[in-house]
């Protein structure tokens, strides 16, 4: 008994009071517990429990390896930076100096361009690491400390994030004045004629990947019907893709052919578009935006060298482990569906090195006359776009960024690794298929401030606007939608039959019929959707995902590649010849020019214009740069000129696609 009440008789309260009958109510509470009448035996299935816990878990843990392919063909300048001590104001003061590396001293080691030290390095001596600074290979800036995936200076060069597509947006892919954008279809940029078996067909090239296949149905928008009575019925009919590819059967992802007389149809760039059609439903086209689920403070993961991990190209493979658990509970993608994809995202860090190093300080010194928003940065802000066709009307062409011909075009600009939201890929979505297809992946582009604004720093040089590109988003398939579309569920039939008007009742019906929230309502109360396959389940067509479940979390191993590539690797090389005149009576500028050519990374050779001009005095030619101060020697200097697809300034290093054998031939025909 847990409560006691004392009730006093009335005659104890007052001498006038008497006792009367009183009634006290009391309650009797009892608890009970069902007791089995006999032995109850229940089996607990360990596997079922495992499946149950796995289904209920929305926690993901990511770990894995990244195999990088990184090099520095786009270096600031072929200089060796060092610190020297000079007498200033009566005492030794440290000064930064840069020594130009002669062309003959420029080497490549595993794709990195740099030099082998041929003199004692003061920095190394000060470090006192008991090793010789001689014969050490040093890449030009940006070097290992700014580009490698693993960086020993303690300031990471890249930031890893986990992102997911959370909304979509529209962009104007090709410039036009009539408001046509990506939502109106894939833009056409070129028309061509294909002749097959004596019959002419019309072909079109698209600005980006069109996502079409042979015999796909398509709608054409914004085309001109040249037939006398507009018999093509372009706006009313759906047409079939006759063939993919151009005249040489190449470029199948960006060209398609339809069975029209080429004379009957014309297009307008920026206005004419094409859409894929499935069961009379045209596809939607849009850009997905990605939102970060992890922080920007480098605390969410550890990165370290993979054991014995070196790629074929000598890059160290990095391992990483996300300490932070990624919880996707309640998150939906841009279509309102539970997440089926996450993205392992790598973004370049623009503050990627110790600012007190001599290399950092040197470049900041070089940039001190640039505007305030530039001079203290090493890297430009990140710009993003897509690998589109080379056409000045096309926006978001990431390879064209910096080309003066594209000066008025658009890109995604001002991107920083600390951003929470990033512009992503271009996708196609068709309501009949209920699937998204990625057409173009976004690329990030970054260049050094020094290269980008070289002309402002040194008026004798032009800007070097070719930067580095990389793909930031790597797909992680955490769930899969079924390969089969669930049969259409028509609640409207029931609503009409029983004359249901209460929305609550209709909602209950949705629950009863197990219609998911993300189902597409193709008409009022008629739904279709794809089931999201449970983790570990495989449907009859092989769809589904399977990965370990442990400690209440899903473990996903990622084995990704990271390719830092050039923006526009030049594939064409020509030889150019410069004439210089050396000697006492020559223009002094020529001596300077000659020295400059010898330092130029594209220098190939020099030759005497006329060998009989050379006068060998006693002791030979000791100083060719001014021809020993005597009259006069004409020299032909041969340099290479590397030409890319875009006008991005002088290129110092050829692309891997160039035929280098050309540079070794000495043929008058090669000399421009």
């Amino acid at each position: 008994m847990d409560k006691t009440n004392k009730i006093l008789l009335n005659n104890t309260k007052s001498y006038n009071s008497i006792n009367v009958n009183s009634q006290v109510q009391f309650g009797i509470d009892s608890t009970n517990k069902p007791i089995p009448l006999n032995d109850i035996s229940t089996n607990i299935n360990q596997y079922d429990q495992f499946v149950k816990e796995r289904k209920e878990s929305t926690i993901y843990r990511f770990y894995g390896n990244i195999t990088p392919i990184i090099s520095n063909p786009l270096y600031n300048d072929n200089v060796k930076i060092s610190k020297v001590f000079r007498f200033q104001n009566g005492s030794l003061q440290p000064n930064l100096t840069a020594k130009k590396i002669l062309n003959s001293g420029i080497f490549e080691k595993n794709g990195w361009i740099g030099y082998y030290n041929d003199e004692l390095d003061e920095t190394a001596l000060q470090f006192n690491d008991n090793k010789s600074a001689l014969c050490e290979f040093s890449p030009f800036d940006p070097g290992y400390d700014r580009l490698s995936m693993l960086d020993s200076d303690g300031i990471p060069n890249y930031l890893f994030k986990v992102t997911y597509p959370f909304r979509s947006k529209d962009i104007t892919l090709v410039k036009n004045n009539v408001g046509v954008s990506l939502k109106d279809g894939i833009p056409i940029i070129e028309k061509f004629i294909v002749e097959l078996n004596g019959r002419k067909y019309v072909g079109f090239k698209t600005a980006i990947n069109h996502g079409l296949s042979f015999r796909d149905n398509i709608n054409l928008y914004g085309f001109t019907d040249n037939t006398p009575n507009q018999t093509l019925l372009l706006t009313d009919k759906t047409f079939k893709v006759f063939k993919l590819g151009n005249n040489t059967n190449d470029l199948k992802f960006r060209t398609f052919i339809i069975d029209f007389d080429p004379a009957d149809i014309n297009f307008s760039i920026g206005v004419s578009t094409v859409k894929r059609v499935v069961q009379n439903k045209a596809s939607q086209y849009y850009v997905r935006e990605f939102k970060s689920l992890s922080s920007s403070d480098y605390k969410d993961y550890d990165i370290y060298p993979a054991a014995f991990g070196v790629s074929y190209y000598g890059d160290k493979i990095s391992s990483f482990n996300f300490k932070k658990d990624i919880d996707v509970e309640g998150l939906v993608d841009n279509l309102g569906r539970p997440l089926s994809e996450l993205y392992f995202t790598i973004v370049k860090n623009d503050s990627d090195t110790d600012p007190t190093t001599i290399n950092s300080m040197y470049w900041l010194e070089q940039q001190e006359n640039l505007p305030a928003n530039l001079k203290n940065r090493f890297w430009t802000k990140i710009v993003a776009g897509y690998e589109t066709e080379n056409n000045e009307n096309i926006n978001y062409n990431v390879r064209s960024f910096g080309d003066p011909s594209f000066i008025n075009n658009e890109w995604y600009t001002g991107i920083d690794e600390s951003d929470e939201i990033f512009d992503g890929d271009i996708v196609e979505y068709n309501e009949r298929e209920l699937l998204e297809r990625r057409l173009e992946l976004v690329h990030h582009r970054v260049n050094t401030i020094y290269r980008e604004h070289l002309n402002s720093i040194n008026p004798n040089e032009g800007n070097k606007r070719e930067g580095y590109l990389y793909k930031p988003f790597n797909k992680i398939q955490i769930r899969e939608f079924s390969n089969y579309i669930n049969p259409v569920v028509d609640l409207q039939y029931i609503v009409d039959k029983y004359n249901i008007t209460d929305t609550l009742e209709i909602d209950n019906l949705r629950v009863s019929y197990k219609i998911p929230n993300y189902a597409t309502e193709i008409s009022p109360n008629v739904y279709r959707w794809r089931d999201l396959i449970e983790i570990g389940e495989v449907d009859i067509s092989g769809g589904g995902v399977e990965y370990p479940f442990e400690s209440g979390a899903h473990y996903i191993n990622l084995d990704k590649r990271f390719y830092l590539q050039r923006q526009d690797p030049p594939c064409e090389a020509i030889l150019i010849e410069e004439e210089v005149e050396l000697g006492a009576t020559a223009n002094p500028n020529d001596e300077q020019r000659f020295k400059q050519y010898l330092n130029d990374p594209t220098f190939l050779e020099y030759s005497f214009e006329n060998i009989t001009d050379v006068t060998f005095t006693v002791g030979g030619v000791t100083d060719l740069s001014n021809y020993n101060g005597i009259d006069t020697l004409k020299i032909d200097v041969t340099l290479a000129d590397f030409i890319g697809s875009y006008e991005l300034g002088k290129r110092d290093v050829p692309g891997g696609c160039v035929d280098l054998s050309l540079l070794k031939q000495k043929d008058l025909d090669d000399v421009c």
Binding site: N11, K33, P36, L37, T42, K131, I303, Y304, S551
Partner: protein, 278 residues
């Protein structure tokens, strides 16, 4: 229904009289199978299922006394010299941070110069326990750190030093920041949730050290200390948080950065890292 009737005369009832009423009940089980199936069995099943235990381990990086992460650290070993043992008055070599030398352990110059098996297979084992009491503690993890021929053991020209000046030292460095140093033993790998759920997000372990000498098969128990005065060791307590055999290690979640540090002993600090009579 059984009713126990009693007659009570009114004259027997005085003012304030109370009557005890006994309530008895017999247990008649009724059909509660539905309740049993719906609740009882489910509750019992739930009770029988083990809770999910998080086995996720992560990296803990070494830090200094101020919890600032360090990129390398050195472990010096110091032993009683054979000469002093033979005289019956064991003493250490050197003072302060100076370590012992490999000749104290019976190695010769050729062992280091040629990296003989008896040298390179000798190692120091750092074991981590949950408590500093050998009778009841549990080994959590251990790491073997093999002998090194690094900068300490080489002269300015890169040649091994003479054996009587070749220090018994182990330099451990961060695999990213110090790629040329030995990394085994630099990090501690431990369960993230244990640290996250510890008071102040700090979790304690106790380290012991052994040196396994392959040249003579001896295993030496060492007295580890973060401080550097080997001659100040007083063998009062071997065990416990003040004992000289255990070095407290604190693992910490410092605002999302996971670190560990060795902490000084209290009674015997400062006491030097290692020593044991051969």
């Amino acid at each position: 229904m059984f009713v126990d009737k009693r007659k009570i005369l009114i004259g027997n009832i005085g003012s304030g009289t109370t009557i005890d009423i006994s309530l008895g009940s017999n247990f008649f089980p009724v059909d509660n199978s539905e309740l049993i199936e719906d609740k009882f069995v489910k509750d019992e099943i739930k009770k029988s299922i083990n809770p999910i235990v998080d086995y996720k381990k992560i990296i803990f990086k070494p830090a200094d006394n101020n919890w600032d992460i360090i990129d390398s650290f050195k472990i010096n070993l110091n032993f009683y010299t054979p000469e002093s043992i033979s005289t019956g008055s064991p003493t250490h070599r050197g003072i302060g941070a100076e370590s012992g030398v490999y000749s104290d352990l019976g190695y010769i110059f050729d062992d280091i110069f040629c990296r003989t098996n008896r040298f390179i297979n000798s190692f120091m084992r750092l074991s981590l326990f949950d408590t500093p009491y050998s009778g009841k503690n549990e080994l959590l993890t251990f790491v073997d750190i093999y002998t090194q021929v690094g900068k300490d053991q080489e002269d300015d020209y890169g040649f091994p030093k003479p054996i009587d000046v070749s220090p018994i030292s182990f330099v451990l460095g961060d695999p990213v920041l110090k790629p040329n140093e030995v990394h085994e033993g630099f990090h501690i790998y431990w369960f993230q949730d244990l640290v996250d759920n510890s008071p102040n997000q700090e979790y304690e372990m106790y380290a012991t050290l052994q040196f396994n000498n392959t040249s003579n098969g001896k295993i030496s128990e060492l007295a580890p200390s973060k401080y550097i005065n080997p001659n100040n060791i007083t063998i009062t307590n071997l065990e416990g948080s003040d004992g000289i055999f255990y070095l407290k290690v604190i693992l910490k979640n410092d605002d999302g950065i996971y670190k560990y540090k060795f902490t000084p002993l209290t009674l015997n600090s400062p006491a030097q890292r290692t020593h044991h009579p051969q």
